[in-house]
């Protein structure tokens, strides 16, 4: 994990040719893009595409933190597991819907097991202990995936239903599959908001997040609530993995890169805030898409600077609650 982080940092070093100013900002290209309708459409849709998947992964992470107060460092591995389960289901059934459902449900069940027998024992423990448990499962899951599916990278391929030419909108290009992806992410965002704010279950979950002991004293089974939230958060990661499977190759250890980005999204949006995760994901998505035009060699840098700036101005994140 440390070496992968070191590699990530190393790989953000810009190229060694061109002036420093050229390396960082290509203002001409950026201006040309924002004054071109086709470029605006393409880059905005790209930002939404990148943000949608990030939102699905980060939502589970922020939900788990918001209710249980733990940082699930194994979240990226749950995303990986979802992708692989979806791959197997797709190979068996040739149905992307079944594959997606299998990915989400499979990881949800695994998360239940993980929470019940392992994470529950470290609630309230030092964060290093929680990190150790999660890291152990990262290694276990990476090796399990290698044993079951092999170390070679795998690809699901695009399901036949989505093998359509891209949609052209005002000169911009939007692949059909990504339109569905954005739609699913939007539906999840709305559905989660309704679930958490307009239903009894949501009320109970929020109560358990704010004051678990009082919630328990009122006769509600907080262990069950916590297990349910953890499983649901894991299922969201699995769903994200399943949805990404048609366009991203799979290999053991693939969860790490998505984990880092989902942490950034969660921190920007506010730990524990689902709406914050949506806002954070969209910010990161748009930074990546427009950054590839304006800051082609410094996208990662811009992302981290944005995160730092937000934290300086609002340490709890954009939609996070202030702690007293």
């Amino acid at each position: 994990m440390v070496n992968a982080l070191t590699t990530q940092i190393f790989l953000t070093i810009p190229l060694s040719f061109g002036s420093p100013a050229e390396k960082i900002l290509d203002s001409e290209a950026l201006l040309e893009c924002v004054t071109s309708v086709s470029c605006l459409v393409t880059q905005t849709s790209t930002g939404l595409i990148v943000g949608s998947l990030l939102f699905l992964v980060a939502t589970g992470l922020t939900l788990i933190f918001g209710v249980l107060g733990i940082v699930n460092f194994a979240h990226g591995s749950l995303y990986m597991l979802g992708a692989y389960i979806a791959l197997s289901a797709f190979r068996l059934t040739d149905s992307f819907i079944i594959a997606t459902a299998a990915g989400a449900l499979g990881v949800g069940l695994f998360s239940l097991f993980f929470e019940r027998f392992f994470m529950r024992r470290v609630y309230g423990a030092d964060v290093l202990m929680q990190l150790l448990v999660c890291y152990a499962f990262i290694l276990i899951l990476d090796d399990a995936v290698k044993i079951i599916w092999g170390s070679e990278f795998q690809s699901m391929g695009m399901p036949a239903f989505f093998q359509e030419p891209p949609v052209f909108l005002a000169g911009g290009v939007i692949p059909v599959f990504y339109i569905y992806l954005i739609g699913i992410a939007a539906a999840m965002a709305i559905g989660l908001w309704i679930l958490l704010n307009k239903t009894k279950i949501g009320k109970i979950v929020r109560a358990a997040a704010v004051n678990p002991s009082m919630t328990s004293a009122l006769g509600l089974n907080t262990s069950l609530i916590f297990a349910g939230v953890f499983a649901f958060g894991g299922a969201l990661a699995g769903l994200a993995g399943a949805l990404a499977a048609p366009v991203r190759s799979m290999s053991p250890g693939m969860g790490f890169s998505v984990l880092i980005e989902s942490f950034i999204v969660t921190v920007i949006g506010g730990m524990g805030s689902v709406s914050g995760a949506l806002v954070g994901a969209l910010i990161i998505g748009l930074i990546r898409s427009f950054g590839s035009i304006g800051f082609p060699y410094f996208i990662e840098g811009v992302m981290f600077i944005t995160m730092a700036a937000i934290l300086v101005l609002k340490p709890s994140g954009i939609m996070g609650k202030e702690t007293r």
Binding site: S155, P166, V173
Partner: protein, 424 residues
């Protein structure tokens, strides 16, 4: 008095008998000891990557090395002494690779190292070899500087992997011809943002423009290694409107890129030159190879089109139930060189083996003319089969390959080395 002298004589006789028995006993203990040393296996250490995202590099490397060692042992080894591979997982960490190499030699009794590390690890192992003086053959690092740079050269260090500059020359030659035929003057690139991607892309375009002066490189996009999402590089490429695209993305990154580019329609009306496409891992992962794709041969059963190459591939598949990859043939060559040097020098002396290896030629199914040479001047292999061609969706994947001309490669390589300051 007589009785005392008889007792003394008797004692001396007993001592003589005891001493003789002890001498015979010692001798008889000594002889099996020497025999045991002769039957002790020759240990070859092999640091490689067997976990994480690049685990298939290690598995492909290990498989090929095991095949080579088993054949050597089945033929009797070195005067009855078998070879034993001691394989360790560096997890892709250069510091771990260096530590493992040191441990293999210092603690595990390895007398030489078959280094199947990626470039970052290979440079670390190379420095350990410089320090401890053991023989090392690097089998996976393609970074030219490892052997081309005189500062890197050590008498006991060798490379059995292809070199980036060789691929660039042949690739530039091939792409230059295709560009001329099809009027492809406007180019872009999409390659991973680390040393291999930067160097290989720069070298490719250098030689593309050498062979075709009309080429214009309008822009380059540099996604991160193992980047999952390529939407923004793809949209950048779409906006650049190139006629042709070069990429040295590899493995899962290349597969992801092709899958994502296909749904954007990036390849429609464009030619894509991906040096790492013609690899069975990529070809099997991409469900159908899109049109307009050109590639260099990483490893294909049909290149070179010989029964020796086909037989080796079939034997590999029969043993490991998976197709060989680029790393497989490179390790097969590396272990072949190492074992031949052991046989030729009748031992494992590093100095003697190094002298034997420099300039050695072996029969190899992967050679252009059935042979591969370990060049004496810089300890790297030459005369291996390099080809480029346009890809088809199924075997042989490249039905009409353009085979690289090694005389051209040598000539241009010399100029490249002069420009780099490696030679005067």
């Amino acid at each position: 008095m007589q009785k005392r002298s008889q007792t003394l004589a008797s004692q001396q006789r007993r001592q003589l008998i005891k001493g003789s028995a002890a001498a015979v006993g010692l001798a008889s203990i000594g002889l099996p000891g020497i025999s045991l040393a002769q039957n002790n296996p020759i240990r070859i250490g092999m640091p490689t990557i067997l976990s994480g995202r690049v685990a298939m590099l290690g598995e492909a490397s290990r498989n090929a090395a095991i095949m080579g060692v088993e054949m050597f042992n089945a033929a009797g080894g070195l005067n009855g002494r078998p070879v034993e591979l001691i394989i360790r997982d560096s997890k892709g960490r250069p510091d771990e690779a260096a530590r493992i190499a040191r441990e293999l030699v210092n603690s595990d009794g390895c007398e030489m190292i078959l280094d199947a590390e990626a470039s970052s690890g290979a440079f670390g192992v190379h420095e350990v070899a410089r320090d401890l003086g053991f023989l090392v053959i690097h089998t996976c690092s393609e970074t030219s500087a490892l052997t081309a740079d005189p500062k890197m050269r050590i008498p006991n260090g060798f490379r059995s992997a292809r070199q980036g500059v060789h691929d660039a020359i042949v690739g530039g030659d091939y792409a230059g011809r295709v560009a001329k035929e099809q009027g492809l003057n406007r180019w872009m690139s999409v390659s991973p943002d680390y040393s291999y991607g930067l160097d290989t892309t720069a070298e490719f375009f250098e030689y593309l423009q050498y062979f075709n002066k009309d080429i214009e490189v309008v822009n380059s996009v540099w996604p991160k290694l193992f980047q999952a999402d390529y939407s923004e590089p793809i949209t950048r490429l779409l906006q650049g409107k190139p006629q042709a695209i070069y990429s040295c993305l590899w493995g899962g990154d290349l597969t992801s890129f092709i899958d994502q580019a296909s749904i954007y329609g990036l390849m429609n009306g464009r030619q894509f030159f991906g040096v790492n496409m013609a690899d069975y891992a990529v070809l099997s992962a991409i469900k159908s190879v899109p049109p307009n794709i050109h590639s260099g041969n990483r490893y294909l059963k049909s290149i070179p089109k010989t029964k020796e190459n086909a037989a080796w591939c079939d034997a590999y598949v029969a043993k490991f139930d998976t197709m060989p990859l680029n790393w497989s043939w490179q390790n097969a060559v590396g272990i072949d060189f190492m074992l031949k040097a052991i046989k030729q020098t009748n031992g494992t002396d590093t100095k003697k083996m190094s002298e034997a290896l420099a300039g050695m030629t072996i029969d190899s199914p992967f050679g252009t003319d059935g042979k591969i040479t370990m060049r004496e001047s810089d300890h790297t292999i030459v005369d291996y089969a390099i080809a480029w061609g346009d890809l088809q969706p199924k075997e042989p994947y490249m039905s009409d390959p353009y085979m690289g001309n090694w005389q051209t490669v040598f000539r241009l390589e010399q100029e490249w080395m002069k420009n780099k300051g490696y030679i005067s």
